[in-house]
């Protein structure tokens, strides 16, 4: 099963390597990872998406908690949360199909952020599913390049 783990850590060098090492020693591939500072300059939040069975993930979570530079670990997979990914998609486009592509982008409430003679760059934010869906629809036109961020997530309400 896919898990989203949210980790509050000290904002200093070496922390990411420690965290990554706990996954890699178990042969786990991290599907996506995003790091950024929080409202507190000394604290960063790392959001990790990883595929793994329940028990091993529980063990990794406990091991994460043991790291001195880790302040808080939450598996927010089952929490009600707002999840966002950002993707930039460069797609082949010519005069004939440009408007068709733009229609798709509109439906998904994406943005065209660059227009060139033979291509468009589309900015898309949203859930993973949404980004995957637009990817599918744009594929037939020819995707030249695709860049995705890791997921960031925030639990709803006061928690």
């Amino acid at each position: 099963m896919r898990h989203t783990v949210s980790v509050l850590v000290a904002n200093k060098s070496g922390v990411l390597a420690r965290i990554a090492s706990l996954f890699s020693r178990r042969g786990y591939n991290i599907d996506s990872l995003s790091v950024g500072t929080t409202e507190d300059q000394e604290v960063s939040r790392i959001t990790i998406v990883v595929e793994g069975d329940e028990q091993v993930l529980e063990q990794v979570t406990k091991q994460l908690n043991k790291l001195i530079d880790v302040y808080k670990v939450s598996d927010i997979t089952n929490d009600s949360s707002i999840d966002r990914n950002l993707a930039l998609i460069k797609v082949q486009a010519n005069l004939d199909n440009r408007s068709e592509i733009m229609q798709i982008v509109d439906v998904f409430r994406g943005k065209v952020v660059d227009v060139a003679a033979n291509s468009l760059v589309i900015e898309m934010t949203g859930s993973e599913e949404k980004i995957e869906a637009i990817e599918e629809l744009l594929r037939p036109f020819g995707i030249i390049e695709l860049v995705k961020t890791g997921k960031i997530a925030m639990v709803r309400g006061e928690k």
């Binding site: 850590v9 000290a10 070496g14 090492s21 063990q59 908690n65 043991k66 001195i68 302040y71």
Partner: protein, 578 residues
């Protein structure tokens, strides 16, 4: 007062009450060694290899309960500490290691003797630091000792670049640590402790399975109280030897792969397993599904990550063993379990481990039994190497005192025992220290004989010389049709290719351990006859010099009982016949 980084290191060590450091100098720790030069309060012990320094610090820590400290230079000095740190980490030994590093301006340039030691040691230290500002040194050292010695203990490494050692800043040693991400929980949950006490009251065939955590927490007294009050038999892991007196009627001895019959049978039949400061290692449990299959499980441990890691636990109690046991002992009622006790006595009477050694034969059992007879457990520290020697040391000596035994349990590091014995002797100058060694393992750190002689450490190295990498040979004998591939230590070019049988015309063993000891200025004694064992041991104990005793034992003596890897622990091989 302004101090250099190196001076701060020294001052901080003194603030922490450190008396001994084990280490080896080099370019990147020149400043630190310079301040050590004329410091009367801190003794530096020059080992002959950084691995020796790390294991010596570890042996010092295990035998005294105080953190062990070691120092190495950058690059190869630092990487030589790696095995020692991994050994300490997996066995939860408090240590603080200092390494020199290239100057901050050179970091990451593949400078001379640069190795990314903080990167390398991430998975084998409890925490590590790369110091980037001299001002941070006192805080970091304070934190390092705190982290190493509290919660589940472990090694911490501090890497200090050359220029930071020379930089100057105001020195003030902090009185407190403030670590947002580290707050070990000592007291167990009251309700859980109550549940545990109830479960103990209801149990008919309870067993305590106690590990190194009992010793680490200083909870041996509390363990004894619990066992005696509720009449619960106790088995210990290798790491837990000494936590409960093996001379006590309630002692089952060690459990697991080379555990006693009574311990492994009791685990299989118990209806309440009380795991205390132990982590259900695969060498203990064998086949998981058949480990304590009928039992309700209580698990007391300071490390929440150990709870339900390998075995589902009914009553987890996360907290310090000593603290939790003290509380539990208040609630537990006096009990006795006569029938269970009878059953255990029957198993004990049949146990092969408790049988006397074969008369007239120089066997490992004979040697270790004699050490046991000649010494009081509260006056000795026994360290071991790894292999058959280690298991025999565990099986045939009766441990009664915590911190009287030090062995690399989790990592199984050959080369641990001898330097660890030096550390133990440094920490316990009044005790007799024995290193029970194999002829193979001893060669992995025998250079430390020079250290033993230089510092006049009267340790006794007991080589159980079977001319083989015996434990591996045993596996080859039992599971690989006696194909003794690369395990004979006497093998020479002139030997037949596939020799599976030691004989009278085998080449001489190299090295000659007696001459080797003498070359270092130690005493060497070879013993080939059973009747000479006692005399040789008495001579060694009386000697003010380090002694290497080369006991030429039976070549193909095996360690039994033995549970084949992955088998159920009540399914033991008890001897050659089955």
């Amino acid at each position: 007062m302004k101090l250099t980084g190196a001076e701060m290191v020294l001052k901080s060590l003194l603030e922490e009450g450190v008396e001994k450091v084990f280490g080896y100098p080099g370019g990147a720790v020149l400043s630190i060694y310079d301040v050590l030069y004329d410091e009367p309060q801190l003794e530096h012990i020059l080992t002959r290899h950084e691995q020796g320094a790390a294991h010596a610090a570890d042996g010092y820590a295990r035998s005294t309960g105080k953190p062990g400290v070691c120092i190495a230079t950058s690059g190869p000095g630092a990487t030589n500490l790696v095995t020692g740190l991994a050994t300490a980490y997996i066995d939860s030994v408090p240590m603080v290691a200092f390494t020199g590093q290239v100057a901050t301006s050179m970091l990451g340039t593949d400078a001379f003797q640069e190795a990314d030691i903080t990167g390398i040691t991430v998975p084998i230290t409890k925490h590590n630091y790369l110091v980037q500002d001299v001002k941070d040194i006192p805080r970091i050292i304070k934190e390092a000792f705190h982290i190493a010695t509290t919660g589940r203990p472990g090694p911490v490494l501090i890497d200090i670049p050359n220029d930071v050692q020379a930089d100057m800043a105001e020195f003030e040693y902090p009185s407190e640590v403030n670590l947002r991400g580290y707050k070990p929980n000592y007291s167990g949950h009251g309700l859980q402790i109550k549940k545990a006490s109830q479960a103990i009251e209801e149990a008919e065939r309870p067993v305590i399975y106690s590990g190194g955590g009992v010793i680490a927490s200083g909870g041996a007294e509390e363990l004894r109280e619990l066992a005696r009050k509720a009449q619960i038999p106790v088995t210990t892991t290798l790491m837990g030897l000494g936590a409960f007196p093996e001379t006590d009627e309630l002692s089952l001895g060690m459990l697991g792969m080379h555990g006693t019959e009574q311990a492994n049978y009791a685990i299989t039949d118990t209806d309440l397993l009380i795991a205390i400061g132990a982590r259900f290692d695969d060498r203990i449990t064998g086949k998981l599904e058949e480990f304590a299959p009928e039992a309700k499980v209580i698990h007391i441990d300071i490390d929440p990550a150990e709870v339900s890691k390998r075995v589902a636990v009914d009553i987890p109690i996360v907290g310090d063993v000593k603290t939790v046991l003290a509380e539990l002992n208040q609630m537990v009622k006096e009990q006795d379990h006569q029938e269970w006790y009878q059953q255990i006595q029957e198993w004990k009477e049949e146990s092969i481990v408790t049988q006397p050694p074969i008369a007239g034969k120089l066997t490992a059992k004979k040697v270790i039994n004699e050490i046991d007879n000649l010494t009081d457990n509260d006056q000795v520290v026994i360290t071991t190497e790894v292999g058959q020697n280690q298991m025999w040391a565990a099986q045939y000596h009766r441990y009664t005192q915590p911190r009287s035994f030090a062995s690399s349990g989790g990592l199984g590091t050959m080369g641990y025992g001898f330097p660890a014995a030096l550390g133990a002797q440094m920490g316990n100058p009044e005790k007799d220290v024995f290193c029970i060694a194999g002829d193979g393992s001893f060669q992995m750190n025998l250079q430390e004989l020079a250290t033993a002689v230089s510092y006049e450490l009267p340790v006794n190295v007991i080589i159980l010389n079977n001319h083989y990498l015996g434990m591996v040979r045993q596996w080859q004998q039992l599971f690989k049709e006696r194909r003794y591939s690369s395990t004979c230590l006497r093998k020479r070019k002139s030997c037949p290719d596939n020799c599976a049988a030691p004989g009278d015309d085998c080449p001489e063993m190299t090295p000659n351990f007696v001459k080797l000891a003498e070359a270092f200025g130690a005493v060497g004694i070879r013993v080939t006859e059973a009747e000479d064992v006692r005399g040789a041991l008495e001579r060694a104990i009386a000697s003010p010099k380090p002694v290497v005793l080369d006991f030429i034992i039976e070549e193909e003596e095996n360690v039994f009982p033995m549970v084949p890897a992955g088998g159920a622990i009540n399914n033991m091989i008890l001897g050659e016949g089955n």
